[in-house]
């Protein structure tokens, strides 16, 4: 059974449809990457899956459970985690309060263990735990955003552009980290602009264009397919 299964999803804003029937399956224990030009629905897909944007038609399932009509908080309870674009941290709260908010739906007894895991993962955050989130650097903010998502202990984690605006060294650290988080009962969907970063990390790469998944395959297949690269990604 797929960890996340999206079929024929149609959604958009007001009278402007952005997703024109997106279908996507992510198996447990794998990481899928969503690539493609800006403004073609990657972020909208994530927002529709998490419920911030209502779906007009189509189905969304998490480990078989249909969630397309559920409220946002019900989807979180079902195990879906969405780390949004631009971090969206709680700026006036401390790093630790942000992380605790990530575990909002978990029982209090699970929180200390989850915190320890995230701090072990991003030791930098342990040093900054009392600092307000708004005073952090871009890389640290991203760590809090991802760490806050990890705190939920979810089964499907979607991360919108973990590398956006970060220095290459930090991007490498973050992807290195994500690879380490891979577990048999968990799946990842990562949005990325630059597919070369995903080689050796993502199990599957899905190319999104004009509101549809145009192509999907392994990272090696992307690298081997000059057509795909040249048509959609300007020959990078």
């Amino acid at each position: 059974m797929a960890a996340l299964s999206v079929s024929d999803l149609v959604a958009g804003y007001h009278n402007r449809p952005v997703l024109h029937g997106v279908s996507l399956d992510i198996e447990p224990g794998t990481m899928a990457a969503l690539i493609g030009p800006n403004g073609h629905g990657k972020t909208t897909l994530l927002k529709t899956v998490s419920g911030l944007v209502p779906a007009r038609s189509g189905a969304i399932r998490i480990f078989g459970q249909a969630i397309e009509t559920a409220m946002v908080h019900e989807r979180v309870a079902a195990g879906l985690v969405h780390v949004p674009q631009g971090d969206q941290l709680f700026g006036e709260m401390s790093v630790e309060e942000n992380l605790r908010m990530g575990a909002y739906l978990r029982s209090a007894s699970e929180v200390p263990g989850a915190l320890e895991e995230v701090y072990a993962f991003f030791p930098r955050l342990a040093e900054r735990r009392g600092q307000s989130a708004s005073s952090l650097s871009g890389g640290e903010r991203r760590m809090v955003g991802i760490g806050r998502g990890l705190m939920a202990g979810g089964k499907v984690m979607m991360i919108d552009e973990p590398s956006l605006g970060l220095a290459p060294l930090i991007i490498e650290q973050i992807y290195e980290g994500l690879r380490g988080l891979s577990r048999a009962d968990r799946a990842f969907l990562v949005v990325e602009e630059n597919p070369s970063r995903l080689i050796g990390i993502a199990d599957r790469i899905c190319l999104m264009d004009a509101g549809r998944i145009e192509w999907s395959g392994t990272a090696a297949e992307v690298a081997g397919s000059r057509d795909i690269l040249e048509t959609y990604l300007g020959g990078h």
Binding site: L52, H82, Q88, E97, Y104, A152
Partner: protein, 292 residues
Amino acid sequence: MDIVIQIVVTGTTLGAMYALAAVGLSLIFGTLGMFNMAHGLFMTIGAYAAYAAAGQLGLPLVAAVVAAMAAGAAMGVATHLAMVRFMLRSKAFETNVIVATAGLAILLQDFVLKLFGGYPYPQPVRVEGVVRLFDVAVARQSLVIVAVALVLIGAVAWLLLKTRFGMAIRATAINREAAQLMGVRTNSVYLQVMALAGALAGVAGVMISSLSTLSPSMGGDPLLKAFVICVVAGLGNAWGAGVAAFALGLLEAAIQYYVGVRFGFPVMLLLVIAILIWRPQGLFGTEKVVRL
């Protein structure tokens, strides 16, 4: 020296009443992004609820204060369920809701007038007597007002800072979408904030009427002052509102004594204008006002 003590007592009492009103108003603004024009009527209805409970039903004073809180909370909940929640998603929410709550205030004021009449009843929920503080006679009721305000505001601060419930309120105020993604039911949070702020307003109404009298229009002046306090503190900043309330209460008492009673509010407003020219975001505000 006696005069200074007298001013401090009067100013702290004023500040305590303003704080009860302003903290609730600020919580609503910070969380829902709305300026609640009906907040004054929440105070009025709280005051009349206490009057009815103690004066007409003969309940003990503490029960009457609880009745005021319940009435205020019920008003907050009803306002949200019957009106605000339908407007939240609209584009011009911030202006629409001002007009809507102002209309509600007029309606409620007429309702209170119809039910109780316009006679300026004294508030039975008060403590009589005087204590001597450094040779100055201080009304026990003043001390009660300050104590009640400090306890309630302390309780709200504890709630917001130390509990899961408070964390959800703060998270929703800072970033509604992100709070939703954490699993917070933001619609429930709005309802809870309206109830909490309504309860504080209900108590504020009891306290205010205990120093003057009841009247259907008694909420207008405190609403205006609470609004001024929220703006000075930085809209949506509940701590700032509490601090600014006491500061402006003391200032008003001092001006009333040294310059004249009728200059209290005008001088306060002048000062507010000066502060806002110097710091447009308010004394404790950050650059961006919390939006919805």
